[in-house]
Amino acid sequence: MSEGMIIFGAWIAAALTLFLFSFLYKDNPFFKIAEHLFIGAGMGWYFQTIFYKIMIPKIWEPLHSGDPFKIFMVVIPALLGLSLITQFIPKISWISRYGFTFMMGYSAGMAIPVGLATDFMNQILGTIEPFANFFALSGWQMFNALAIAIGTICVLFYFFFSVEHKGAGKKVSNLGIYFLMIYFGASFGNTVMARFSLLYGRFDTLVNYSSAKYFYATSWILVGLTLYFVAEKLITSAKRETAE
């Protein structure tokens, strides 16, 4: 790709970025265009990936290999896959059930053992393991092991005993809420960093595109957008005056 195309790309990228940001000031056609382009481009990107990485090598090529076994191994899943699409034709939409039941059966069957092992048994083990040699732990480790065990039990109590919590039960489930609050608080704190990081990423790119190398793309587009908003404001107020 030539240097010119790279610079042109920077202008396009800076424009699309600023169009989307312009929504923060107010809704406008530039934002709407960029928003709809995003939806289409996302689908387009997904489509070309599926097409070139799966449809061609995993379906088209084996079908044309002449090897009966390979063909058989592709025809069945391809038919099951195609059956999904009958969903859009009400009269024969029941055919899609073949594809769906195949996927659901496989994934449900696969999900049960790992759900039990990873998120259930292992979590219980993780909670009680430290107690196996509890007295070999330091005081701080003992405290942490106890805190995790008590916290987990209280949270489970809060979730599962949906009877009206009274007396001791209420205290236990109340304590559970505090552990949940710490989890939510920590998640919120990290969400702030995550969101700001993404914004940093965009600003960093915009600053980069505002350099002389890209002929000040960001700055020019920003000026253009500002002029648009000023003009729009002037026109609407002029219209209002004539109406009055």
Partner: protein, 223 residues
């Protein structure tokens, strides 16, 4: 007809469910071969799943254009966006880099069209978090205060300035901001999350069993 519409699909879900489940616990040549075939098939079937989303999106925007609803013109840009990815892909045969590591048309389209659109769309959320923080983060109870305290330590302790502030005020405790964060995530928050995790795991296993035994069949649609 009921046989084809209902009983065979339910048999499929039951059979594949039970055999996939069993293959986890019975590790032998047969179960490995079964999984190998299923894995290859499943990979292909799920690729078709994408077309469901594509068709319904295209149909929705096609109807908007056809009925000329407010702002129908924007719907055209959905198709333009789609073509802006697919046409370069056809020209570049699905590759993004030339052998000399320069960008192909597809690589260009990714870097200067899809990349800024997708990245900016999500970065806008940063602005909403700041207005939420200002307008709706209210510390009205002890529970809310605990939530705030955990958030406060994480927001402050992640940045170098925050670590300096922490050290100058709490330096005497010999606990650094980083250690405090490690502890919050590693102990009380782990307990909170683990409670949720165990609960969700039980729910997921029950739902999966319901699917296999044909009790849960919403995904099949109406008869």
């Amino acid at each position: 007809m009921k046989l084809f519409k209902k009983y065979i699909p339910l048999t499929i879900v039951f059979l594949f469910g039970i055999v996939s489940l069993a293959s986890y616990y019975v590790p032998n040549k047969l179960s490995e071969d079964y999984l190998e075939v299923m894995n290859a098939w499943e990979n292909i079937v799920s690729a078709f799943g994408f077309f469901l989303g594509l068709i319904s999106l295209f149909y929705a925007h096609y109807m908007k254009i056809k009925k000329k609803v407010d702002g129908w013109g924007y719907s055209l840009f959905v198709y333009i966006g789609f073509l802006l990815m697919v046409v370069p892909a056809i020209i570049s045969k699905g590759t993004q880099l030339n052998p000399d590591a320069s960008l192909t048309w597809l690589g260009w389209a990714f870097r200067y069209l899809y990349n800024p659109l997708s990245a900016t769309m999500f970065s806008i959320l940063a602005f909403y978090i700041i207005s939420t923080a200002y307008r709706s983060f209210r510390i009205k109870s002890l529970q809310a205060f605990v939530l705030f305290a955990a958030a406060f330590v994480l927001i402050l302790g992640r940045i170098p300035v925050g670590q300096m502030i922490w050290d100058s005020i709490l330096g005497f405790t010999k606990v650094t901001a980083g250690e405090a964060i490690d502890w919050i995530i590693g102990v009380p928050s782990t307990a909170g999350k683990r409670g949720i995790m165990i609960g969700v795991a039980i729910g997921a296993v029950v739902t999966s069993l319901k699917i296999i035994f044909g009790i849960e069949r919403q995904y099949m649609g109406k008869d």
